[in-house]
């Protein structure tokens, strides 16, 4: 069940796509990530690493995963206003805030940077 409320969606006459109606910002520092109408709401259940890493007793970082479903699909990395890309891990690059560097706020395949996904739960709208 999507938690994206109607006020976040752009209503376009005769258009099937659900686009973001508001600016998308970083939750922590409010840096502008994406302009209205540039992201398309999709349901894509994905496991996304949590923002903080817990130190594990074994010494290696213990990455916790969140199950996330609501994403804004963005076409092309230059569609973003401000965003950072992590190094790739297992073929995936994670997206982060370009200013405060918190994240992941989304992801893309390292081999396909034309399709990028921003997590609805990890951003704010203005």
């Amino acid at each position: 069940m999507s938690t994206v409320t109607q006020d976040l969606l752009l209503s376009v006459e005769g258009e099937e796509k659900k686009l973001n109606a508001k600016n998308i910002h970083c939750k922590v520092c409010s840096s502008l990530v994406l302009l209205p109408g540039k992201g398309q709401l999709i349901n894509k259940p994905t496991e996304l690493p949590q923002v903080s890493v817990k130190a594990s007793t074994a010494g290696s970082p213990n990455v916790q995963l969140d199950e996330v479903s609501d994403f804004w699909l963005v076409h092309g990395m230059f569609t973003f206003e401000n965003v950072g890309f992590s190094n790739a891990v297992n073929g995936i690059k994670y997206l982060l805030c370009a200013d405060c560097e918190q994240g992941p706020i989304g992801w893309c395949l390292d081999a396909n940077r034309e399709l990028l996904y921003i997590s609805h739960n990890r951003v704010v709208y203005k």
Binding site: N82, Y94, D99, C100
Partner: protein, 208 residues
Amino acid sequence: MAKTYDYLFKLLLIGDSGVGKTCVLFRFSEDAFNSTFISTIGIDFKIRTIDLDGKKIKLQIWDTAGQERFRTITTAYYRGAMGIMLVYDITNEKSFDNIKNWIRNIEEHASSDVEKMVLGNKCDMNDRRQVTKEKGEQLAVEFGIKFMETSAKASINVDEAFISLARDIKVKMDRKLEPVGSGSRSGGPIVPKKGEDKPKSRWKCTIL
């Protein structure tokens, strides 16, 4: 999807480790989010959008994190770069002295028409200053490069520095795009001027 910008510039940040290059890209305290998933895996590059004279400019910015020693940075790293920020730390004289080595490295390996700028970072830490502003200015004059003191932490001059570098690249690019005089087309083979179409074609190869 329609193109949503007017210009796309590829920039590099280089300088010794610890000069705060990463922080030049970021407005907040470097310690704020230390033990996070992102800091564990590291950052590759950032996309930033600035407005310049009513034109929308996308900057794709790489940091040399992890390969700071200038000896290890060669042609492949500079390929397609249109602008380079040379960053030193005003509280670390060694990082300032090394700027000359970095410039030499750029002259050796980067495209000859790459725009350069020198940044003296951490100018909020005046009490620990080892490099005077005058020394920075002198070096910049010596090499004919623009200079600014910045504080990523206190948000001083960081945006201005990127806008200034972007403006210089844009001016250079606009000049290249100006139509050639009618006389040059009369007879003879068309020989492209040195470096004329290089930035664009190289740029394409390096995005993905």
